[in-house]
C-alpha cells in the first residue's frame, strides 16, 4: 500500500487534520485563557491579551464579582485520592495478573468480572455504591466510597497492562531461580518484580491519571467534600469565565510534568539495571 503516493499523501493530510481536530479544544482554551479580565468573557474575540485569569486562580487579583475557583482543597483531595487509587489498583492488578500466569478453574469468570469494572458506566457504579452506602447508613466520602469506585475503574486497566507484561515475560528466569533453591516468593521479589517494573510504572501512570480526572463515578460517591472534577462540574451550572480555561491549561501542564516524571523513572529503571550490573561488583 505504501507505494500509492497519492493515497499516502491524502491519508497523511487527513491524519494531520484529524490531529488538529483532537487538539482544537486545547488550542481554544489556551487562547481564551489569556482573555482580558475581569470583563472579558469566555468567547472570541480576545479583547485584550492578559494573564489576569491565571492570577485570578491564585487569588492575586483584586476582588471582583467573579468568585475564585473553589479548587484549593479539592485539588489536594484529588491528588491524595489518585495516589491511594494508584497504589491499590497496581497491587491488585499485579496480584491478579500473576495468578493468571497459571491456568486455573474459573479464570474466565475472574477475567470478565475484573474487566466489568471498566465496562460498567461510571454513573451506574456511583449510583449503586450510593444506594448501598445509604442503606447501610455509611456516609459517602471521597476517601471511602469514591476511593472504592475509583479502584473499580483503574484496577482493570492495571490488570490488563500487567497481563500483557506477563504474557511477554520469559518464565525460564524464574525457573532458573527456583532450581537454585530460591523460594517462589523471594524469586518474585528478586527476579520477577525488577523485570516487570516498567509495566508496574505504566499501570501506576494509568491509574493515577484515570483517577485524577475521574468524574461520573465520583459524582454520586464523593459525598460532601468535592474532588477537583466535581468542583469544575459545579461551575457548569453557573456562568463560565475564562479562569476555568486558565485552570485547564495549568492542569494540562501538571499532567505533562507527571508524564515527565514517569519518563524519567522509566529511563532510570532501564539505566539502573545496566549500572547495577557494573557497580555492585566494584565495591
Amino acid at each position: 500500500m505504501e507505494n500509492r503516493p497519492f493515497l499516502r499523501s491524502a491519508l497523511a493530510f487527513y491524519t494531520a487534520l484529524f490531529i488538529g481536530f483532537l487538539y482544537a479544544p486545547f488550542v481554544v482554551l489556551g487562547i481564551l485563557s489569556f482573555q482580558a479580565g475581569p470583563e472579558g468573557g469566555p468567547q472570541f474575540p480576545i479583547t485584550e491579551w492578559s494573564t489576569y485569569w491565571y492570577e485570578h486562580i491564585f487569588g492575586l487579583t483584586p476582588p471582583s464579582r467573579i468568585a475564585p475557583l473553589p479548587i484549593g482543597e479539592a485539588m489536594i483531595r484529588s491528588l491524595t485520592l489518585a495516589f491511594m487509587t494508584m497504589v491499590t489498583s497496581t497491587v491488585l492488578g499485579t496480584m491478579t495478573a500473576q495468578a493468571f500466569r497459571r491456568r486455573f478453574k474459573g479464570s474466565g469468570f475472574v477475567f470478565y468480572l475484573v474487566v466489568l469494572g471498566m465496562i460498567v458506566p461510571g454513573v451506574l457504579v456511583g449510583l449503586g455504591l450510593a444506594l448501598v452506602a445509604n442503606n447501610l447508613g455509611i456516609s459517602r466520602a471521597w476517601w471511602g466510597t469514591a476511593y472504592v469506585a475509583h479502584v473499580l475503574y483503574t484496577f482493570p486497566f492495571a490488570f490488563l497492562v500487567m497481563l500483557a507484561i506477563f504474557n511477554r515475560f520469559d518464565r525460564s528466569v524464574e525457573e532458573a531461580a527456583w532450581s537454585l533453591g530460591v523460594t517462589p516468593m523471594r524469586t518474585f521479589r528478586k527476579v520477577t518484580f525488577p523485570l516487570i517494573f516498567p509495566g508496574v510504572l505504566s499501570s501506576m501512570l494509568f491509574a493515577f491519571t484515570l483517577s485524577y480526572d475521574e468524574f461520573p463515578r465520583t459524582l454520586f460517591a464523593a459525598g460532601a467534600d468535592l474532588t477537583l472534577p466535581l468542583a469544575i462540574y459545579g461551575t457548569f451550572s453557573v456562568e463560565i469565565h475564562p479562569n476555568i480555561f486558565a485552570f485547564g491549561v495549568l492542569t494540562t501542564l501538571f499532567s505533562f510534568s507527571i508524564l515527565a516524571v514517569y519518563g524519567i523513572l522509566m529511563s532510570l529503571s532501564v539505566r539502573r539495571a545496566k549500572k547495577a550490573a557494573i557497580q555492585e561488583d566494584i565495591q
Binding site: M1, L22, R171
Partner: protein
Amino acid sequence: MDASRGNDVLPESATAEEGVKTESGGGDSSARRITAMLIAPGTIWMLLFLVVPMLMMVYVSFWTQKTFSIEPTLTVKSWVAFFSSETYFAALLRTIKIWLIVLATTFALGYPTALFIGLFIKNKTVQTIVLVLCVVPFWTSFLIRVLAWRPMLGKEGAVNIVLEKLGLIAEPIEVLLFTEFSVVVGMTQIYVVFMVGPIAFMLSRIDPSLIEAARDLGAGTWRIFRTIIFPLSLPGVVVGAIFVSVMVLGEFATSAALSGRKVNLLGNIIVTQVGSLKWAFAAVAGVILTAVMAIVVAVLLRFVDLRKEL
C-alpha cells in the same frame, strides 16, 4: 545436523497458544492455594463493590418512592412511570440514537487515521509518536475539554467567525451549540481515539507480504482493501466499538455541558433523579441502561474474543 534441534513440541506450544502457562513452583495443591490467595482480593473487591451495588440497584428499582425518600416496599410503580412518561422513554431512544451516531462518526473519522498509522507508517517509533500525539489531549481535564467546545460552536464562536470571514454564511449559525449536534461533536472528539487505537493495532499486524502477494496477482487497491485489509482490521473495529459504546451509553457530562440541558440522555435522567432524591426512579433508569449496555456488549463480543485480542 542441526535440523532436529529445537524445542520439544509440547510444553512450549501447548502453553503459548493459551497465553497461560502451567506452573508449579510447589506442589499442585500449594500452587492452587497461591492462586486463590492472589485472586481473592481483586475478586472480592469487584464482587463487593461492583456486583453487589448493581444488584442493589435492581432491587431498589422495585422500592416505593416517597417524596424525598424510598421505602423497601416492593412495587413496579417506578417502572410503570418510566415507560409511561414521554420524556423518559424519549431519553432512552435519544441515548440509543446518539450512541449509534457517535459510533458511526468515530468509525468514519477514525478509520482513515488508523489506516495511515497502522499501514502506511512503517517505522515503529514514528507510529508510536503519532499514537501518543493522539492521546496527549487526554491529559487535559475531560470536563474542561468539553467546555472548550462552547466558544468554538457558539453563536459568536470560532466556527461562525471563520465561516463569516470566509463569506460562506451571512448570519451566524445558531444550531451549532446546545443541540444534539454539539453533543455529537463533543463526544466524537473525546472518544474517537478509542476507535483509532485498536484498529491501528490490528492493521499494523498485517503481514505486508500478504498485500504484496495480492498486488502481484493483479488486485487493485480497492479490491485489496475490501478483501484483505478491512476483514483483518475488523477485530480492531469491534474492540473500538466496544470501548466507544460503553463510554457513550453511560455519558451525561458532555450532554450536560454542550446541550444546555436540552438533550437528556439516560445518564442525565439518573443524575437529575438522584439530585431530587428520587432513588427508585434513578435505579429504574440505571437498570434499563445496564440492560441496553449488556445487549450491546454481548452482541459485539460475539464477533471477537476480548481475552485473545488483548
